[in-house]
Symmetry: C3
């Protein structure tokens, strides 16, 4: 282990609350000079989708996946007490009241702090997404790249 502290997060979940937790930890760690990577896999990838629909040539299952999954951070549901979308609204209201940052701002802040945002290429393929559907400034990589980051630090989380 060198001098540089590292935080490496696998973000598997696409729940608004869990994605928020991941980005709060990431932003905190970056503020304390950790080298931070968030590796977005499976449902976590949805946090990185652009919120406008992207034209792409796809097969049937890929179209269904793309349609059923939330497009971007602002559309995600809660892991608990989702109540058909009412839960996320309550959380967002209460966050606004307490001047807490909404998720899209937390993601912007992470980018500004040079948190490395990685999209799992295997998931991109599996869900039939294209690179054009993913927001700018995201790298595409696999489990080997994750391990290279994780094995040299010790704050390694799976969220």
């Amino acid at each position: 282990m060198g001098e540089q502290k590292k935080t490496t997060i696998i973000l598997f979940s696409g729940d608004y609350d869990k994605v928020m937790a991941a980005y709060i930890i990431a932003n905190g760690a970056a503020a304390y000079d950790h080298e931070v990577t968030i590796f977005h896999t499976f449902w976590g990838l949805n946090a990185l989708r652009k919120d406008e629909p992207i034209q792409a040539d796809k097969g049937f299952i890929e179209k269904m996946f793309a349609k059923m999954m939330p497009r971007g951070a602002n559309k995600l549901g809660l892991s608990k007490m989702n109540y058909a979308g009412f839960g996320p609204k309550m959380i967002k209201d209460v966050m606004k009241k307490h001047n807490a940052m909404p998720l899209p701002d937390l993601i912007d802040m992470a980018k500004e702090q040079d948190v490395k945002l990685v999209a799992c290429q295997m998931t991109v393929d599996l869900f039939g997404l294209t690179h054009e559907e993913i927001m700018e400034g995201v790298e595409f990589a696999g489990v080997a790249a994750y391990l290279a980051d994780a094995e040299n630090g010790n704050v390694n989380l799976f969220i």
Copy 2:
């Protein structure tokens, strides 16, 4: 990394089974002389709520949150097979049969073993809870305190 082994758990989940897993690992690690911290955030905070209702002056959304969320370890649901509360009863029955400790006892044991129990202050604010609603012996802190614990150990889990 010094000589002292450390286990630092972020407890995000408020599911009975996951909270139980967190406390079993924490108690095990404490028994093997690890310095152990459980950082309770989001739904995980509910495990630390006192089980009697506390009078507090709150806004509407805060009252709703406080009402809808389970009050204390014994009221939590299961992550799987909850079956409207029947699942937790089954688990508790089978635990009693096998002389396994119920969750409130696991929490008491953690306190006796000097496991540091931390409540995320941001979550306390967000859910509109007051310090009086949280059990005795709990510290209040944020992501900076979490990182200070986590970056010097290597058993770091997000549950």
Copy 3:
């Protein structure tokens, strides 16, 4: 920390997608010469159940648990978009289309790469399972064994 890199995963979840993520990380880490352990606890134990029913002398609750829980990797549901079993079929179809390995093959591959598969003895007792119901090549151990593996490595995940 010695020369040998270590990846130690607590697999708590029994969701098809999360179990798949655990085994993909484990196989990746093994390919990069990590010493890898997957410690299966709670619902994660279901991934190790043999898929044929095993005759065993059990009490009523144990029989109910054994009946309600999925028997083996191929029967698991998804954490999201399960749609009464339709989700796993979609995932499996799309995996086949992209030549991705189905879960039972990922488990076989892990065994071939000497990933240590551990079943949590406390969970085995709690769910009233017998060792005969668990696939060959699995060790039975507790939290002490987990800690012994985890405290000497730094890629420690709870899935």
